[in-house]
């Protein structure tokens, strides 16, 4: 078989396979998530500002949170309370969470003041908002899962607030097993899945341009989007 420049892309099915459901799903996925937009080599020139790196920093901190959290789950409470390596990994987990929220709040401020929901980016903004709220839940259940006096204190203090909003019947902060499952299963899955969706939306919709170069539709003027190499998204 010879390959020429006119050959169809590898994801295009053979003519006789075009009606298969696999071919239809693949075509829809490639149309919704064009590979060249998913991992671009160059970024728009207006990204030449430090304020644009806080999304990537938040993702990096989240990766450390997930890795250290997995180690804590594998080894258990006696390890993270009593062994020096366990105490170190426990501290890494705490401080990566601190940095995660630190970077995420600055990312939020930056995107709020540039009205990042412009240009049909409402879903991108809202997935960020919901990820932020899910992260707060993950943080609370994390403090409740420490298995020490602090977690007991926080649980007894939080129960009245949770009961006051009517959620105590199905979200019982005094139920350690339930809080641990929320912390190591449901909320991490939610945060990671929402983060992936958020990033896919950022990639497909593009990063919102500054006000001064935005077109009335919320996109960027062509002359202001000359791409530059080496700028992180």
């Amino acid at each position: 078989m010879t390959t020429t420049h006119d050959a169809p892309p590898a994801y295009e099915p053979l003519p006789e396979d075009a009606d298969l459901w696999t071919a239809k799903i693949r075509r829809k996925l490639v149309r919704a998530l064009p590979p060249d937009r998913m991992v671009p080599d160059r970024q728009p020139a207006y990204l030449s500002s430090w304020i644009y790196i806080f999304g990537a920093l938040t993702m990096s901190a989240l990766a450390v949170v997930i890795i250290t959290g997995t180690l804590l789950a594998l080894e258990g409470p006696a390890w993270w309370h009593l062994s020096t390596v366990g105490l170190f990994v426990n501290s890494l987990h705490l401080w990566s969470v601190e940095l995660f929220f630190f970077f995420m709040v600055i990312h939020l401020w930056g995107k709020f003041f540039m009205a990042a929901w412009r240009g049909n980016r409402t879903l991108t903004w809202m997935t960020g908002v919901i990820t932020f709220m899910a992260s707060i839940g993950a943080g609370l259940t994390g403090y409740l899962s420490q298995t020490n006096f602090e977690s007991q204190w926080i649980a007894t203090q939080a129960k009245d607030g949770i009961n006051a909003i009517g959620a105590g019947a199905f979200f019982n902060v005094l139920n350690f097993g339930q809080m641990l499952m929320w912390h190591i299963m449901i909320l991490p899955l939610a945060v990671v899945a929402l983060t992936v969706l958020h990033i896919l939306l950022v990639r497909t919709k593009g990063i919102v341009p500054p006000f001064e170069i935005a077109s009335p539709e919320g996109g960027a003027h062509a002359d202001a989007t000359a791409e530059t190499a080496g700028v992180e998204g």
């Binding site: 500002s49 304020i51 601190e98 791409e227």
Partner: protein
Amino acid sequence: MFASISLALGAIFNLMGSGHYIHWGFVQISVANLLVIVLMVVTFFAAILIPFRHKSGGKS
């Protein structure tokens, strides 16, 4: 080794005492939380004001 490092850091920062709080009317906040908020604000303005340098050869 980790024990000796934590002992050395513990000698610098005494974390065993009760926390310090600031009271301002009905507002009550720990010094640690206030410090983190101030650091976030400083980082936010630094990110806006400090020029971003990218490697030469890129168009901008």
